[in-house]
C-alpha cells in the first residue's frame, strides 16, 4: 500500500482552478437553444390562463411550453420516480394547472439566446386563482402524522419502539431536562447552478450533460418519462460543482431540457438561476422536543426525542432524527417519535448530514444542560455514558474509536483549562466560551459495479458511473486502484461521471469511497486471477505453477512473492491476449449477511471556543477542533478538506444559514447569496482536524467508512454549548442570531 494513506492533491484540481473543467452548463454544442423557466408567483391554487403571445412575439423566441401544450408524457406516476424519491406522488412538471408551491415551474421559454428567453419570461401573463395555504411548521403541529413507507424507508426506517417505561423512569430520576429546538429551512446553494445541456443525436438518442450526483439516476428518470431506451440515453457529469444533496434527485431543468430537445429536435440547454435554486428541495424546518433523565452518578436512565418535520403535500420526505441519542448512549427507558406535517412547499431533500446534524444539535445541547444540572464536566458525562455496544440494537460496532476522539480533541483543544462557571472566562471586552459535542453518522455502503482492465501499454483502466461532486472521488479511486497492482497514479485511469459506465448509486450518504472503492478491490482481485491465468498461457511462463496467493504486483509486473526476480510483465500478458485489454466487471456490495450482527457508525468529537462581546453580543467562533473516527483514511488531504468544509458548514448552520420563509406570502424571501448568509472568510478562524486510528476489518474490503458528513454533525451543538458557557444563555433555535443574547 503506497498510494492509500498519502495526502495527494486532487488530480483534476488544475482543471478547476484554470477554468478548463467543464460543467453541465458549459457545453457549447452547435446550434444550441436556451431555455428559461417561469416559476409560479403564488403558493397554492390554479392557473386560470397563461398568455404567451407577447413572449412569442419577441424576436428569437422559439417556443413556450406550458401545461396546455406540453407533449404527451408518461402516464403513470411511477415513471417519474427516481432512486431517491420518497414515498408519495412525484412532482410532474407542467402536468396540469395546479399550483402546489411557490416557485413551481409553470412554463419553459426556449429561445435563440439565454437573455432573450429570460426577457420573454417577464412577458408571460398568468392569471391565478389563489387558495389558502399552510407553510409554517410551528402553526401546523397538530397535523403531525407518521411517514408513509416506501423504498426510501429502507435507508430511513421509523424510529425504534419504546423501551422500558419512559414516563415512570423520567419522573423518578433525580436529574432531568426537557428541551425544545427549532430549526429553519436551509438551501444547498452549491456554487454550480443547476443546468442541463441536452444534445439531440437523432434516432431517439440523447447525450445529456446534467448537474447531478447520480448519472444513472438521471438516465432512468429521462428514459422512463420520455419513453426512450435506457441505452439511448447517456448522462454525463464529469465535473459537479458541489451538490450537498441537491443533486440526489433529477431536478426540473433536466426534465425541461430533454422535453424541449425532443420536441424541437434541437440541442437545448436549461440553466436555473440562483433564485431558482430555491424552487426545489431544501433542508426542512424541524421542531424537536427532548427529555433526558439521569441518576445522581450521571448514568442516563431515560431518553425521549420527539421530532416533527415538514414535508410536501405530495411526497413523504423523512430523515433519521429521533433515534440518534440511543445509538450513542445507553438507557433502559426510551421513547422516540418522528412525525411529518405536509405543507404547501416543495418536498425537502437530503442536505449534508440530513437528520443527523439536526438531531445531534438537540441531543448534545440537552446533554450539556444535563451536565450542568449534575454539576459534571460535559465530557465526563459523555464518557460516563460511553457505549461499547450499540445500545439501540445491542449489537457490537464494527469499530468505534469515539473515546480516542474525545480524548485527543480535548487535549489538543485544552479542554481542561475550562472553568465550567458560565461567564467566568473573559478577555477584554469578550466573554469566552468553551463547548463540546459528539458526532455520529451511519457508515453507508451501496452496491457498485466496477470494470477494471489492463491494456496493451500496461495501464490500468477502471470504470464506474459515480460522480465526483468535489469530494476527491477521482483521486481516491485512483489511489485505491493503483495500490491493487502496485502502480503509480499516472498508470491508472479512472473513468466516471457517465451513465454508460458500470452501475453506481448517486453520490451521497458519505458512501462513495466504501461503495465504489470496495468494488474496485473486488474487481481487482478477479482481474488478478485473469491475468495470472493468461500469464500461464505464455510459453515457458515463469509463473506456470503459481497460484493467486503466491503472486504480487508492482511496477507493471506480476511476480512471485517469495522470489521477486521471477516475474511476468503485464504488457506481456496483454500481448498474449493478442494485445486486447484484459478486463472484468464485478459487483461490490455491502456484506449484508456478516454485518447484520453489527452496528456500523462513524464518530466524531468537536470542541469549540467562542468569543462574545460583553455588551453587543457579537459572536465569533475563534477555534474549533474536530477528531474523527472513520476507519481507514485513504487520502488525508481530501479527507481533511471534507472535515474542514463541513466544520464551516456547522458554523454556518449554528450562526448564519437560514432561508427566510414569509409567513403571509408562503414563499422564501432571501433567494440570493447576498442575503442567504453563509460564512465568509472573516467568520472562519482556526479549524483543526484529527483523524484517530480506527482499524475496521469487518466493514468492507478497505476498512473505510466515509467522511463527507461526520465533520458537520457535532459543530452546531458545540457552538451552542460554548455560547451558553460564555453567557449563561441557552438559545435553542438555529441559527442563533447574536441579538438574541442581548
Amino acid at each position: 500500500m503506497t498510494q492509500i494513506g498519502k495526502a495527494i492533491s486532487r488530480l483534476e484540481g488544475w482543471q478547476k482552478v484554470t477554468g478548463s473543467a467543464k460543467y453541465a452548463g458549459d457545453y457549447n454544442v452547435p446550434d444550441l437553444l436556451y431555455g428559461y423557466v417561469v416559476n409560479s408567483t403564488i403558493t397554492k391554487g390554479h392557473i386560470i390562463s397563461i398568455d404567451t403571445s407577447d413572449a412569442l412575439a419577441l424576436p428569437g423566441v422559439i417556443k413556450v411550453f406550458t401545461h396546455q401544450n406540453r407533449p404527451g408524457l408518461a402516464w403513470f406516476d411511477i415513471m417519474y420516480t427516481d432512486m431517491d424519491a420518497p414515498p408519495g406522488t412525484v412532482f410532474k412538471p407542467l402536468h396540469d394547472n395546479e399550483i402546489k408551491y411557490n416557485g413551481q415551474p409553470v412554463a419553459l421559454i426556449v429561445a435563440e439566446r439565454f437573455e432573450i428567453a429570460r426577457e420573454a419570461s417577464a412577458l408571460i401573463k398568468i392569471k391565478y386563482e389563489e387558495m389558502h395555504f399552510e407553510t409554517r411548521l410551528d402553526r401546523n403541529i397538530e397535523k403531525g402524522r407518521n411517514a408513509k413507507k416506501g423504498l426510501a424507508t429502507a435507508l430511513k426506517p421509523p424510529p425504534p419502539k419504546p423501551k422500558g417505561d419512559f414516563s415512570l423512569a423520567y419522573d423518578e430520576s433525580p436529574f432531568k431536562v426537557a428541551t425544545e429546538y427549532r430549526h429553519s429551512t436551509e438551501h444547498h446553494n452549491p456554487m454550480e447552478l443547476f443546468a442541463t445541456t441536452t444534445v439531440y443525436e437523432g434516432d431517439g438518442k440523447l447525450t445529456i450533460y446534467d448537474k447531478t450526483q447520480g448519472t444513472i439516476n438521471s438516465q432512468i428518470y429521462v428514459a422512463n418519462i420520455f419513453g426512450l431506451h435506457f441505452k439511448d440515453v447517456r448522462v454525463l457529469a464529469p465535473f459537479v460543482g458541489g451538490g450537498f444533496g441537491s443533486g440526489l434527485r433529477p431536478q426540473y431543468q433536466l426534465f425541461f431540457s430533454v422535453m424541449a430537445a425532443l420536441e424541437l429536435k434541437r440541442n437545448v440547454r436549461v440553466t436555473l438561476d440562483r433564485k431558482q435554486m430555491y424552487s426545489f428541495g431544501h433542508r426542512p424546518q424541524v421542531i424537536q422536543k427532548l427529555r433526558f433523565a439521569a441518576e445522581t452518578n450521571g448514568k442516563l436512565t431515560a431518553l425521549s426525542h420527539l421530532a416533527l418535520s415538514e414535508t410536501s403535500q405530495f411526497e413523504d420526505y423523512a430523515e433519521l432524527v429521533a433515534e440518534w441519542s440511543h445509538k450513542l448512549y445507553p438507557a433502559n427507558n426510551t421513547l422516540f417519535s418522528y412525525k411529518l406535517v405536509p405543507l404547501d412547499l416543495y418536498t425537502p431533500i437530503d442536505m449534508r448530514a440530513p437528520g443527523g446534524s439536526t438531531a445531534l444539535h438537540a441531543i448534545e445541547c440537552t446533554m450539556d444542560e444535563l451536565a450542568y444540572q449534575l454539576k459534571m464536566d460535559p465530557l465526563e458525562l459523555r464518557l460516563k455514558n460511553y457505549a461499547e455496544i450499540d445500545p439501540s440494537t445491542d449489537k457490537p460496532f464494527t469499530s468505534k474509536a469515539l473515546k480516542d476522539c474525545y480524548l485527543k480533541a480535548a487535549e489538543k483543544f485544552g479542554w481542561n483549562e475550562r472553568n465550567p462557571e458560565p461567564g467566568s472566562m473573559t478577555h477584554g471586552n469578550k466573554l469566552i466560551g468553551y463547548g463540546m459535542a459528539t458526532g455520529i453518522w451511519d457508515a453507508y455502503q451501496f452496491p457498485a459495479r466496477v470494470e477494471i482492465g489492463v491494456n496493451a501499454e500496461g495501464k490500468l483502466l477502471v470504470n464506474n458511473a459515480t460522480t465526483d461532486i468535489g469530494t476527491g472521488t477521482l483521486t481516491v479511486m485512483t489511489q485505491i486502484a493503483a495500490d491493487q497492482f502496485g502502480l503509480s497514479l499516472d498508470e491508472v485511469t479512472f473513468g466516471y461521471g457517465d451513465s454508460k459506465k458500470p452501475f453506481s448509486m448517486f453520490q451521497g450518504g458519505s458512501a462513495m469511497t466504501a461503495s465504489t472503492g470496495s468494488a474496485i478491490v473486488i474487481a481487482a482481485n478477479v482481474l488478478k486471477k485473469k491475468l495470472l491465468d493468461k500469464a500461464k498461457e505464455i510459453t515457458n511462463s515463469p509463473l506456470k505453477d503459481a497460484e493467486l496467493k503466491d503472486v504480487m504486483f508492482t511496477h507493471g509486473r506480476m511476480y512471485l512473492k517469495n522470489q521477486v526476480e521471477v516475474y511476468v510483465m503485464l504488457t506481456d500478458i496483454v500481448q498474449a491476449n493478442k494485445g486486447k485489454t484484459i478486463k472484468t466487471t464485478n459487483l461490490g456490495a455491502p456484506h449484508m449477511f456478516d454485518l447484520r450482527k453489527y452496528s456500523k457508525m462513524t464518530h466524531s468529537a468537536a470542541f469549540v471556543e467562542v468569543e462574545i462581546d460583553k455588551d453587543l453580543k457579537t459572536i465569533t467562533v475563534t477555534r474549533a477542533v474536530t477528531a474523527v473516527a472513520a476507519g481507514k483514511i485513504i487520502n488525508p488531504k481530501t479527507a481533511t478538506s471534507q472535515i474542514t468544509g463541513s466544520m464551516v458548514w456547522g458554523i454556518s448552520k449554528a450562526l448564519y444559514e437560514e432561508t427566510i420563509l414569509d409567513e403571509n406570502l408562503g414563499k422564501y424571501m432571501n433567494m440570493n447569496l447576498g442575503e442567504y448568509h453563509i460564512p465568509v472568510h472573516a467568520d472562519i478562524k482556526q479549524l483543526e482536524v484529527i483523524f484517530v486510528e480506527e482499524k475496521d476489518e469487518l466493514i468492507n474490503e478497505l476498512g473505510v467508512k466515509g467522511v463527507g458528513e461526520i465533520g458537520l454533525v457535532a459543530i452546531p451543538a458545540a457552538i451552542a454549548n460554548a455560547i451558553f458557557h460564555a453567557t449563561g444563555k441557552r438559545i435553542n433555535n438555529l441559527p442563533i442570531h447574536f441579538d438574541e443574547l442581548l
Binding site: D613, L616, A682
Partner: protein, 336 residues
C-alpha cells in the same frame, strides 16, 4: 431584462441632456446595484448612460476636499488624503460590501443604492416603494432588517449604505448638475423619509447627476470610529451601524457627530444629542444619555425590536472606541 441602448457620455452636459429627454434613461456607474435591480425586473431602463469615465479624482479645495462622484469606493477609501484627514469615511466604506464590489462601486452610485428590503426586490409581492399603493409586505412580514426610526405606514425600509453614514456625520455637501442648472444639497437634505412617497429615496430629479461630494475641512481625524453590527463578520449589510466623530479638548467634548445606519430610510442624525454632549466629559454615562436622545421615538416591529437596545449599546461603544481609534478592528467590528 429588456433590450436597451448604451451611451458613454463625453461630458456631464451631454449625459444630462440625453437622460433628460428619456424618462426611461438611467445613469450607469459601477452597475453593482442597477444591474441587479434590472435582472430582478424591478426596473427596465431603455437607455443606459455610462458615467464612469467622468471622474476627476479627489482634489483639495479652499475649505476641504472634493470627491468625484464617479470614482470608485475603493479609490476613495484608500486615497492618502482620505485615510489621513477623513479616516471615518475610509473605515465606513471599507466596512461595506466586498473588495470586489467596492472596486466597481462608485461614490455616486453608493448614495443612490436602493434598499435591501426583501419585499422590494420581489416584483410579485406588494411593496409601496416599488409600486406605490400596493401595500407594504414588510410591516407584517419578516422585518428583522427594517427601520426603527422615521418609518411610515407606507414603508419601513432602511437605506443600506455604510459610506453615507460617515458622510452624514461629516456633514458632506453634494454637488449636482441637471437640465435646470447646478445646485448643492447638504447631506441631511438629500435622502428622504418614506412618508407618503416611499418610492422616492432622495431629492434628486430624474435628469440630475451627482458630480461631486464636498467634505468640510473638519474631518474628526483624531477621534473617530465606525462600528458595524451585522449577521456575519463581513459582506453583510448593517443591522445597526454607528459613525462617530468627536472633537475633544482637555477631555471635554467640543463637538460631537453621531450618525446611525441600518435603522432608518436615511442615515440618522439627531442634533439635540450631539448638542447635549458639547461641554461634557466623554464618558460612557454621557454617551448613554446621548443614545437615549437619539433613539427617542423609536418604534419596532415583530422581528426588529432588538435594534433599539442594540443601537443604544452600539452608540456608547462606538463613542468610546472613538476616544482610542487604535482600538478599532478591521471590518469595523466591536473593539476587543
Amino acid at each position: 431584462m429588456n433590450d436597451f441602448n448604451y451611451h458613454k457620455a463625453a461630458t456631464i452636459d451631454e449625459a444630462v441632456n440625453v437622460v433628460n429627454e428619456n424618462p426611461r434613461a438611467a445613469y450607469l456607474a459601477g452597475g453593482t446595484n442597477i444591474i441587479d435591480l434590472w435582472k430582478y425586473n424591478i426596473i427596465s431602463p431603455e437607455l443606459l448612460m455610462d458615467v464612469n469615465q467622468l471622474g476627476e479624482g479627489i482634489i483639495e479645495t479652499s475649505d476641504g476636499i472634493r470627491l468625484s462622484a464617479f470614482i470608485t469606493n475603493s479609490a476613495t477609501a484608500w486615497h492618502p488624503l482620505i485615510e489621513e484627514r477623513y479616516p471615518l469615511l475610509s473605515k465606513a466604506i471599507l466596512a461595506g460590501a466586498s473588495a470586489q464590489i467596492r472596486n466597481m462601486a462608485t461614490n455616486g452610485g453608493n448614495l443612490l443604492q436602493r434598499t435591501r428590503c426583501y419585499y422590494f426586490y420581489d416584483p410579485n409581492v406588494p411593496c409601496n416603494k416599488r409600486e406605490p399603493g400596493s401595500g407594504c409586505s414588510a410591516k407584517e412580514g419578516y422585518n428583522r432588517i427594517h427601520a426603527i426610526l422615521g418609518a411610515s405606514e407606507q414603508c419601513i425600509a432602511v437605506f443600506p449604505s455604510d459610506m453615507c453614514v460617515a458622510l452624514a456625520a461629516l456633514g458632506a455637501v453634494l454637488n449636482v448638475s441637471g437640465s435646470a442648472g447646478n445646485r448643492s444639497i447638504s447631506f441631511n437634505d438629500f435622502h428622504r423619509l418614506p412618508g407618503d412617497t416611499p418610492q422616492l429615496d432622495n431629492n434628486l430629479l430624474h435628469d440630475e447627476i451627482i458630480t461631486s461630494i464636498d467634505l468640510p475641512s473638519k474631518g474628526f481625524a483624531t477621534n473617530y470610529s465606525y462600528l458595524k453590527l451585522r449577521d456575519r463578520h463581513s459582506y453583510a449589510f448593517a443591522l445597526v451601524s454607528v459613525a462617530t466623530g468627536l472633537d475633544l479638548e482637555d477631555n471635554i467634548i467640543k463637538e460631537a457627530r453621531i450618525a446611525l445606519g441600518g435603522v432608518a430610510h436615511k442615515p440618522w442624525r439627531v442634533i439635540a444629542a450631539e448638542e447635549y454632549l458639547v461641554g461634557k466629559a466623554p464618558t460612557a454615562e454621557n454617551f448613554a444619555i446621548a443614545a437615549e436622545i437619539i433613539l427617542q421615538g423609536a418604534i419596532s416591529f415583530k422581528y426588529n425590536a432588538f435594534k433599539i437596545e442594540l443601537s443604544k449599546r452600539a452608540i456608547v461603544r462606538n463613542c468610546l472606541m472613538a476616544l482610542d481609534p487604535s482600538s478599532q478592528l478591521p471590518g469595523s467590528q466591536p473593539s476587543a
